[in-house]
Symmetry: C2
Subunit: 120 residues, 2 copies
């Protein structure tokens, strides 16, 4: 069975540079609204990866021991790619519809120690 | 210039399944020993990705606002791949030599929301 690989559908020419934005977003969600939140964050991640060449990664994870804690590894080619991302309809939908679900949001910008590393 | 892409050097057949281990390791390092720590964690990440087919990702990052805070996104094919990893000489070297540099270590196992997503 061939698994569809988001991010492998287009030619690979993405390179993380010192201009790139590598960010960990840590989000705590109202547990009562978790299923709705998960659907929205998943949809936004898929659309961002599919439609935006400058979004290199948007890997969302749910902590097993605390399912209301979400972490997203976000990588943007550069600031222009990030500025474009936050204007897209799919991000605006996510932002508006999740606003009342999110209890805490921490945006933690990172320096990748091995910028050329790629997920296998 | 062709950038060497760790994880693209071998044929791609890695698939994240429910047997995989997706983990965020959060590490706080003694600031006085940070340069030595960064060299060791970088070396271990490169060797793991190069030498271990079952290590799908070992993406280490340093928080810009708090450089002593390190986050590693680790993805192992399955538990056997993880058990193999912790026995390798490169991991054992990292573990032994960084033991006195690490002030806090949190291992946070995750459920990936879009398991088939790959970094571009």
């Amino acid at each position: 069975m061939k698994t569809f690989e988001i991010g492998r559908a287009r030619p690979v020419n993405s390179v993380v540079t010192s201009e790139s934005i590598v960010r960990i977003s840590r989000i705590e969600v109202d547990p009562a609204q978790l299923p709705e939140y998960l659907a929205l964050v998943t949809e936004c991640g898929r659309e961002s990866m599919t439609k935006e060449p400058g979004v290199y990664m948007m890997y969302s994870m749910q902590e097993k021991a605390h399912p209301e804690r979400i972490t997203i590894l976000e990588i943007y080619a550069d600031r222009a790619a990030y500025e474009h991302h936050v204007q897209t309809p799919h991000f605006q939908k996510y932002k508006q519809e999740t606003m009342k679900m999110v209890r805490q949001l921490d945006l933690l910008d990172q320096n990748p120690l091995v910028p050329e590393m790629r997920m296998k």
